[in-house]
């Protein structure tokens, strides 16, 4: 920080200014805005398929609000696209743990998504404690934890404790899984 010009504390407060971060076309920004606009189109088209009960001509039917939402999405997304074309790029969020100079690390994000997706299979197949072990251990490893086996052990501990507290004590029906199913304290 020494001797630097005071950086704006909250970049968003400076009004989404023109940030010539890179000369490349911001494909991601266009894509996201385009998807939002497409969702708006879907809302409008979908609204047309909602049946309007007969005899409610003067009263607001079930279509009007969806039409409004669709139009809002389409118009707002198009304005964002126009702004991006003109050079008004979005200002990424800031936070204590966010390195403002780091490029987006898509590999880590992909790993995290993969580990999160493993829940879809693991929770019901192997039980909650195992699923959490995999999610916690995998996520910590993806984020750069120094020793992967420590991460796995913490994950297992977390899985067992949450199973005990939420499944056993608070009575949520979390599946303990085939490995632990015979232990009575893991059930509510």
């Amino acid at each position: 920080m020494t001797g630097q010009a005071p950086a704006p504390l909250d970049a968003s407060a400076s009004g989404g200014a023109r940030v010539p971060r890179s000369a490349r076309t911001p494909i991601g920004e266009y894509a996201f805005a385009a998807v939002c606009a497409a969702l708006g189109v879907y809302a409008i088209v979908g609204a047309g398929f909602i049946r309007v009960p007969p005899g409610s001509a003067s009263v607001l039917g079930p279509r009007v609000f969806p039409y409004g939402v669709g139009i809002l999405l389409v118009v707002a997304s198009l304005v964002v696209i126009v702004q991006v074309v003109r050079g008004h790029r979005g200002v990424p969020d800031e936070g204590e743990d966010v390195d403002p100079d780091a490029p987006t690390d898509w590999v880590t994000v992909a790993k995290l998504i993969a580990f999160f997706l493993s829940q879809l299979v693991l929770i019901e197949l192997a039980g909650w404690p195992i699923a959490v072990t995999v999610l916690f251990g995998g996520a910590a490893w993806s984020l750069g934890a120094k020793r992967w086996w420590v991460a796995l052990l913490i994950g297992l501990g977390l899985g067992l404790v949450t199973q005990l507290v939420f499944g056993g004590w608070l009575g949520l029906s979390l599946p303990a899984g085939p490995l632990l199913d015979w232990i009575p304290i893991f059930h509510g």
Binding site: A76, G90, V91, D97, V132
Partner: protein, 522 residues
């Protein structure tokens, strides 16, 4: 005196051992996660929503109130001791508090922040106690058109129009409204936007929206640009001379009171919550400072910590006024607390003080109790929180992901919810990545269905006459206020931008020099 009696009854409930424990649990967790960087109160309440599946309503709401207040206290510790700005409402504190800590006066900064939060929290809770029942009595007379007006005000002010980019805020709002549309339409009973998936016919649970956007989305975003290496925490030197001196007290108490006076009213109106309040308080203190204190601004002025911290907590209490009396959340956190009410089938609003009087007053009483607990947790035990700050980030974010997964699965014990959570989390990640605010989306998702209901009710009453929406004086006042708030917001934004460009941040080396000169002056 009615509300005094009711409050005493509330205390009788809240002081029962089990509720005291819930309150302690809430403020403890709240402070812990408030201290943890990257986790704000919104995310915490979202992550702990699963508690509502098992606790009774009073217990759960006492826990959430504790988390809500605790998160506000904890945030200041982070911003004072970490080198990077934290949640938006405590950035003003970060400026001065961080500089005080660097100059070796961290303990005094932490103390004035905790005491200021306590003073402001208590005064603001007293104001809430006496104001809320009156407002609720007035609000009973509001019709659907008035509610629609209030919701529109909330939509447009919570982020959408007060954020940095208006179209991005509106896209975010639209996405939230879109999520709210999914499910069975109330009046005609048909399904909308469910893609033929039976699970979606119940709609997308607000828990998934809140946890997905705040917990999962935030964790993915931080993961994508994680600051690697050791966590830089400024050490707090213990000792007699580091505590708040008599002079610090003399310089703090007026900013505390001024901060409260600024924060509470701003919290009660839908004007962007604590964020605006802290900046106004900071600007006020800077303007009012005289002599040596004025020169200290930008180098670690204690007034610049005391005022904004008080304003922050007072605003947090103020936010509860519209939430409890009108059912109107004015911040993302309040929107999530509202969804916790909804889980129990309780609808905050004017009737709440009559139908659920016991619950509301126990909740308000627990706010007083929580404030006292927080003072104890934050003054003598601050060393413990400093340790929490050092949790290695990989484990922290892995833990957040695990609790997010728990919250989604425990909702209906169906992994389909886990999938929806992941999709919403990805949207949240991309929104942060491309500079869209997430708060409007949460508010849109929670208030959207209510907005449609009130709009259609008004249209049914008026037989389709749109003018009915502005027929009552209340609605006219609401829309006029909206225009005023937008104008004020633009003005505040300019002011904030100016404020950020002016403070002369002296090199860190010079801070000690300034501080050494100080004893001669006093």
């Amino acid at each position: 005196m009615d509300s005094l009696n009711a409050l005493l009854e509330g205390f009788a409930t809240a002081l029962q051992p089990q509720y005291l424990l819930y309150a302690l649990f809430g403020v403890f967790i709240g402070t812990a996660v408030g201290v943890l960087p990257g986790i704000g109160p919104a995310m915490t309440v979202a992550l702990l929503l699963p508690l509502t599946y098992t606790l009774d309503p009073t217990g759960a709401l006492i826990v959430f109130a504790g988390i809500y207040y605790g998160g506000m206290y904890g945030g200041s510790t982070t911003s004072i001791l970490l080198n990077t700005p934290g949640e938006s409402s405590s950035i003003a504190t970060a400026l001065e508090g961080n500089r005080m800590a660097k100059a070796g006066r961290g303990a005094a900064a932490l103390a004035t922040a905790a005491l200021g939060s306590f003073v402001a929290g208590t005064i603001a809770t007293v104001a809430l106690t006496f104001l809320a029942p009156g407002i609720a009595r007035l609000a009973v007379q509001l019709g659907p058109a008035d509610y629609f007006a209030l919701i529109v005000v909330a939509f447009l002010t919570v982020g959408a129009l007060l954020g940095s980019s208006v179209p991005r805020g509106l896209v975010s709002l639209g996405l939230g409204l879109m999520l709210g549309l999914v499910g069975t339409e109330v009046l005609s009973g048909q399904q909308r936007y469910t893609l033929g998936i039976p699970t979606l016919s119940d709609g997308i649970d607000v828990v998934l929206i809140a946890v997905g956007l705040f917990a999962l989305g935030e964790a993915l975003y931080v993961a994508s640009r994680l600051r690697h290496g050791a966590v830089a925490v400024i050490p707090v030197t213990r000792g007699r001379h580091n505590r708040m001196s008599r002079r610090d007290w003399a310089r703090s108490w007026r900013p505390w009171l001024r901060g409260t006076a600024i924060g509470f009213p701003i919290g009660t109106i839908p004007a962007g919550g604590a964020d605006v309040a802290t900046f106004l308080s900071y600007a006020t203190e800077r303007k009012l400072a005289k002599g040596g204190a004025k020169a200290e601004f930008g180098r670690g002025a204690i007034e610049g910590v005391a005022g904004p911290e008080a304003a922050n907590n007072a605003a947090a209490a103020g936010v509860l006024v519209p939430l409890l009396t009108l059912g109107l959340p004015t911040t993302a956190t309040a929107a999530i607390i509202l969804s916790a009410f909804q889980t129990y089938g309780i609808r905050p609003g004017p009737q709440l003080f009559e139908t659920q009087a016991g619950l509301v007053w126990a909740l308000i009483a627990s706010l007083y109790i929580g404030n006292v607990m927080l003072l104890v947790l934050n003054l003598p035990l601050v060393g413990m929180w400093v340790k929490v700050l050092r949790i290695p980030r990989p484990y922290l974010y892995a833990g957040i992901l695990s609790f997010a997964a728990l919250g989604a699965y425990a909702l209906h014990f169906n992994v389909f919810d886990t999938l929806i959570l992941l999709v919403i989390g990805l949207i949240g990640f991309l929104m942060r990545r491309y500079g869209y605010p997430v708060a409007p989306m949460v508010v849109g998702g929670i208030l959207g269905p209510m907005a449609e209901e009130q709009l259609r009710k008004s249209m049914a009453i008026s037989q389709g006459d749109l003018l009915y929406l502005v027929h009552s004086p209340f609605a006219i006042v609401a829309y006029a206020t909206l225009a005023l708030i937008i104008g004020l917001g633009v003005w505040l934004k300019r002011r904030k931008a100016r404020l950020e460009s002016t403070p002369t941040l002296v090199p860190t080396g010079a801070i000690t020099a300034v501080d050494e000169r100080e004893p001669e002056k006093s």
